[in-house]
């Protein structure tokens, strides 16, 4: 069966939860995915956090595909989690269920209470080990390193979108996302964004990055 035949039908409900830290580009990632879904003829909903939450705090967004009308995801109901930062990905365990696919950047951004010694950042390897035992499958790799390799440290969002596209869990092809990236990216960053996307795809094809139950 080819990847295209294997692809899920457009009516399948898919709840994708994005989580990260202010400045990581989570909102752009969810928007790009939503635009790609719209271009593919779907009825996506994208919900975003604005305002107070963006001052160095946690930024979450969602992309909802299929026949669902609700723009947000309740606890325990995400089909896919896209985690931009290790601790925030683990915190989103409460959105997961036994079948959830988690795609995670293993890089850490230390929150202020940890930076000043008032709290301890949990060991990253341990968080992902615990998480892998609870969810359907976990794809975890250093997306920050991929972004730097692509020439743009801020392109973690493109790396993760590439990884998501390569999992074949979306009801449309990677090309639909690339099309939006090409149309929306500042030409100055286009090359590095496309490279970041490809590195994300490659990371998803590397079995060493996967932990499946």
């Amino acid at each position: 069966m080819t990847a295209a035949e294997n692809r899920k039908p457009k009516t399948e409900n898919l709840r994708i939860f994005f989580t990260g830290v202010g400045g990581q580009g989570t909102l752009l990632a969810s928007r790009v995915l939503g635009e790609a879904a719209l271009a593919a003829g779907l009825n996506p909903l994208v919900s975003e956090t604005h305002g107070m939450a963006q001052r160095g705090g946690i930024v979450v967004s969602t992309v909802i595909l299929g026949e669902l009308k609700s723009p947000i995801i309740s606890l325990g109901e995400a089909d896919i989690v896209l985690g931009f930062e290790a601790l925030e990905t683990f915190r989103a365990l409460d959105r997961c269920q036994a079948g959830t696919l988690v795609i995670a950047n293993t890089a850490a951004i230390v929150p202020y209470p940890v930076a000043i010694g008032q709290a301890q950042y949990p060991e990253v390897a341990k968080m992902f080990e615990l998480m892998a035992a609870q969810v359907g499958s976990l794809l975890a790799f250093d997306a920050g390193a991929c972004a730097r390799e692509a020439g743009s440290p801020l392109a973690v969002n493109m790396v993760l979108l590439g990884a998501l596209a390569a999992t074949e869990r979306l009801p449309f092809a990677a090309e639909a996302i690339l099309e939006v990236i090409r149309a929306r990216t500042n030409p100055k960053f286009l090359e590095s964004n496309l490279k970041a996307f490809k590195l994300g795809e490659a990371a998803a094809r590397d079995d060493g990055n996967w932990r499946r139950r």
């Binding site: 939503g34 975003e48 305002g51 160095g56 109901e77 615990l130």
Partner: protein, 623 residues
């Protein structure tokens, strides 16, 4: 060109709810948009501003919501179609206008967007503004999605003109900040200059005129009710002996829940989009034959109480429930799982809700918080630092009434520079009350945009009454919290911004303040000396702390960082940076066993403030 001006009719676009509202208004030929920014409504103004730079759309970031509503009311009285947008608490500021504008009415269509914020994502309360429609006797529409937000925004103008009344378009955060597919219609052109026709005995609300106008308003309201009965925004689906009535985004949660629970053929579902005045006939016809009815609406039991009254009038005795133990709460926004579970429980349908995993339990300990913080390089933090050190050096304890903006984040330790806050402008007046009642040393903080929004009258009062406190105006040159909108005091404006700047110090002097200090908070020595003087003085005095928002300045001017700084050598037992400053660029060297601070070069903005008071911090290199 703005995205909202692009695209052909019938094309689908992915719009934020707020963008959909602007597009709907443009398709209706809106001629003027006014607003004061406030989450979750801000993008309505921001997109309208962009469009006003590219077309003949008139737009203003008004000084506050009352001003925005009144400017719009004048234009609507002159025949223009107008839209004014604000967050829910903004309508409190404009409420005086709203109540009597309903008597005066409009000629051109007028849409008032009230963006409510259940769960208080970015607000000081979660009031339910649907009651404003009821209190003011105005028609109200409540969309469930960006698609419907556009349809309603567009339809509201015709509705407004048909009734001669402003229409309230009441949204919630989940509609404002959701992107969804919107089908484009055709952009309408604007009519050119309007014309104000004199008719003082209908438009000047003295008692004799207003007595008549109130009667006219109630007649219009009764015509509005007839329109609600047949409105396409109110509709019934499904069948069965159980019923659900819902409005707003809750309708989406119900629709998903009915499908997931397999109940679409067992439950009759009344979706209400035109929610004031309520279609009593439609509701009265929906209820008979239903054994039990569930009302799903976020926040207050606005629909529920009216629906019970309708049932009572018709002698219907089936259960009608919404809020209560085991059912829905008046607190916070709802979500799909909550609505699904409550529907199943209320109707006795078997359903096993998912048992969410608890990350803290899986890890076996609490996860570190990630509180929002003032940005690195923020001038507010520098000013707070000087006030903290001044008070410490003088051996004083300050009480800090604060106001609404980024600087409210000064609440969090280590800054801890916020003791009392109610709403926009409350810093100045509550400071007066606290100082009068206690004689304690009171230092109040207000931002520049908030000062123009609702600080001017308070300052005039404080001067006139001879109150005794220090007011610090934190002037960062923009309305930073909501996305850097301009205001009358702006020093850094977006390219082409036409507004005339007003000098804050001139305003303060003009209001009669005789003791005034003006500092750049990043010049530590001068800032500290001035702060000490200002704190120690008595009577009504003002200190203006002026330095641009770092984020905004670098975006507007492209200004790059001049230098980097680092802690060189062992810094020992001093904890001043940790205890008084709290810059996100600073961190404790991990596992060093000693108190050793370091500066993250990727986060440091090079504001060069810390280097002025810490002898261990040195510039490292350019770039």
């Amino acid at each position: 060109m703005s995205e909202l001006l692009q695209g052909k009719a019938d094309e689908r676009r992915l719009f934020l709810g707020n963008e959909a509202i602007v597009r709907g208004a443009l398709e209706a030929g809106v001629a003027l948009v006014t607003t004061y920014p406030g989450t979750p409504s801000s993008e309505i103004g921001d997109r309208s501003y962009e469009i006003s730079r590219q077309t003949d759309l008139a737009f203003e970031y008004s000084v506050n919501e009352k001003v925005a509503l009144e400017v719009a009311a004048g234009a609507a009285a002159s025949g223009w179609r107008v839209l004014t947008a604000m967050k829910h608490v903004g309508l409190n500021v404009a409420a005086d206008t709203l109540m009597t504008l309903a008597y005066v009415g409009v000629k051109g269509g007028m849409v008032i967007v009230s963006a409510d914020d259940p769960s208080l994502f970015s607000s000081q309360n979660e009031q339910d503004n649907r009651y404003y429609a009821k209190m003011a006797s105005l028609p109200m529409l409540e969309p469930d999605s960006p698609r419907e937000a556009k349809e309603m925004a567009q339809a509201a103008f015709a509705l407004s003109e048909e009734l001669g009344l402003p229409v309230l378009l009441r949204t919630t955060t989940r509609v404002n900040h959701t992107r969804g597919p919107v089908t484009l219609g055709t952009l309408a052109s604007r009519p050119g200059p309007g014309h104000f026709e004199k008719n003082p005995f209908q438009k000047v609300m003295v008692p004799a005129v207003a007595r008549v106008a109130h009667g006219r308003l109630l007649e219009s309201l009764s015509r509005a009710r007839a329109l609600a009965e047949v409105s396409p925004f109110n509709r019934v689906s499904g069948r069965g002996v159980w019923g659900i009535i819902a409005s707003g985004v809750s309708r989406s949660y119900v629709a998903d829940a009915l499908r997931e629970l397999g109940l679409t053929d067992q439950i009759k579902f009344l979706e209400l989009g035109f929610t004031h005045p309520l279609p009593e006939g439609l509701i009265g016809d929906f209820l008979p034959g239903l054994e039990k009815v569930l009302v799903v609406e976020e926040l207050e039991p606005y629909l529920e109480e009216s629906i019970r009254a309708i049932a009572q009038e018709r002698g219907l005795t089936g259960a009608i429930r919404g809020k209560g133990p085991g059912l829905f709460s008046r607190l916070y926004e709802y979500h799909p799982g909550l609505v699904r579970e409550t529907i199943a429980r209320y109707f006795g349908v078997s359903y096993q809700p998912p048992a969410p995993m608890v990350p803290e339990q899986v890890l076996g300990r609490a996860l570190p918080d990630r509180p929002p913080n003032l940005c690195p390089g923020c001038p507010h933090r520098a000013m707070y630092y000087s006030v903290k050190i001044a008070l410490k050096d003088l051996g004083l304890t300050g009480i800090f009434p604060t106001d609404i903006g980024c600087y409210t984040l000064g609440l969090l330790p280590p800054l801890s520079m916020a003791d009392f806050l109610i709403c926009m402008g409350s810093s100045i007046n509550t400071a007066a009350g606290i100082s009068r009642a206690t004689g304690q040393k009171v230092v109040a903080f207000i931002g520049d945009s908030t000062f123009f929004h609702s600080g001017l009258q308070g300052l005039a009062n404080a001067v006139h009454q001879g109150h005794d406190f220090l007011l610090v105006i934190l002037d960062n040159g923009t309305t930073a919290m909501t996305g850097s909108q301009p205001h009358p005091g702006v020093t850094l404006t977006p390219p082409g911004y036409p507004g005339k700047p007003i000098d804050i110090a001139g305003v303060v002097r003009g209001l009669g303040v005789e003791q005034l200090w003006q500092i750049n908070p990043f010049h530590y020595k001068e800032a500290l000396a001035a702060t000490k003087e200002a704190v120690e003085a008595s009577g009504m005095r003002v200190l203006i702390s002026q330095a641009p928002c770092h984020l905004y300045e670098s975006r507007i001017t492209g200004k790059k960082r001049q230098a980097r700084f680092q802690v060189t050598g062992e810094c020992g037992e001093c904890r001043d940076c940790l205890d008084y400053f709290g810059c996100p660029a600073m961190y404790l060297k991990p596992d060093s066993g000693v108190s050793q601070m370091l500066i993250d070069p990727d986060v440091c903005t090079g504001c060069a403030f810390c280097v002025q008071w810490c002898k261990c911090i040195k510039p490292v290199k350019k770039g």
